[in-house]
Amino acid sequence: MSTVASLTRATLAKDLRLEWRSKDAINSMLFFSLLVVVIFSFSFDPTAEESRQIAGGLVWVAFLFAAVVALNQTWAREIRNQVLDAYRVSPAPPNALFLAKALGNFIFVTVLQALMTPLFIVFYNLRALGPAYQLPIVAALGTWALVVNGTFFAAMSLRTRSREIMLPLLLFPISIPALLAMVEATGAILTGEFSAKFWIVLLAAYDLVFTIASLFLFGFVLQAE
């Protein structure tokens, strides 16, 4: 009998294969965040110290907006030819689909971050004065916070008429606590003025709560008309 883990792997592999062939999500995310970096660098001309203060906000807002582009693409594939119905009529558990989609989005946004972070460092002359080893932890927890909610709300807005507008309307307000934690933690690490531990713990708790809630509720969203 297929387990949730093996079905998640199969669906994730299928999604990565589809993305590798179409490059829909990654191309639009890259182009979008590149534009944000360039526009921000023209709009502000900060000193190195000011950069450290504002970089957390700039980076995460850019990644949040770019993630929305990827999140909309993920489910668009499932609506084309109504393939989602093939999953719905199968005995496969909804959780496997949700986890695969969230992990897929996590990989796409992480790839984007790996490509864009050097650009941010160059454009804003960034250097961490605090414990730099905490940055990957904040990035991983922050990205999961964005994609777990984003995947859930993108599925919820799937059957609405203007789903591309609906997703940010649902996602942004609920992401505020996570976004605040990401920005504060990144700022703390870059400036070294205060500890990021509280914000990292908050982010981890946020991830835990919303992952459990999404897994619990996704079955209802999938089976909704």
């Binding site: 199969a10 669906t11 589809l18 119905d85 093939a86």
Partner: protein, 233 residues
Amino acid sequence: MTTPPNPQAAAVVILTDLVKQFGRFAALRGVSAEFAPGQFYAILGDNGAGKTTLLRALAGLIPPTRGSISMLGTTELRSVSGQMGYMAHPSLLYDEMSGMENLRYFARLYDVNNAHQRCADVIRAVKLDPSLTRPVGQYSQGMRQRMSLARALLNDPKILLLDEPFSNVDARSAREMVSLLAALRDSGKTIFVVTHQAALLEGAADEFVWMEAGQIVSLTPDLRPVETRLEAR
């Protein structure tokens, strides 16, 4: 309230006062019927008669507003979803993947044993080539329909629910599909086909189910009463 599976049940599908409303519009208006196992049912009717809604309700894709569906002895349709095959009007396939890649993925969802062999077998059964590497998006409409039928057959279902399987398929391929469905019926499967091409199923289907305004108005082994009904309009 659900009932446990009962393999001894005489009827494989029992509809009891089935009502499905979309807002104020009732797509199904109190449908009650019993369908025997190992039979081939052709569901006919004009556009908007409720045929596709009935099939989607049987597949468990839309919950009834009122009434119940009992399938293979249970009203908990999800518990028997592995014994159902569903083919919709859209292909339910990923355009960017080949037919074999699509089927391999769906075989995982149904936990099909010896998946590669089974996928190749069902692709051959619908007269396509399993070694075709072209993505499904580049298939002709007829090939896509046949691949979609192959997907529905993948899990060797006891009940097949097919929505317009012959649309956009050439006459020869359609006849081949009907022969395949008749053979599947002979092997004990219960088949429901929604179609506008009733004549194609004459001699193959066991019962013709005529729907009108969300109700089953006749269930007959002969196509003639249906044709008479059409002529009288």
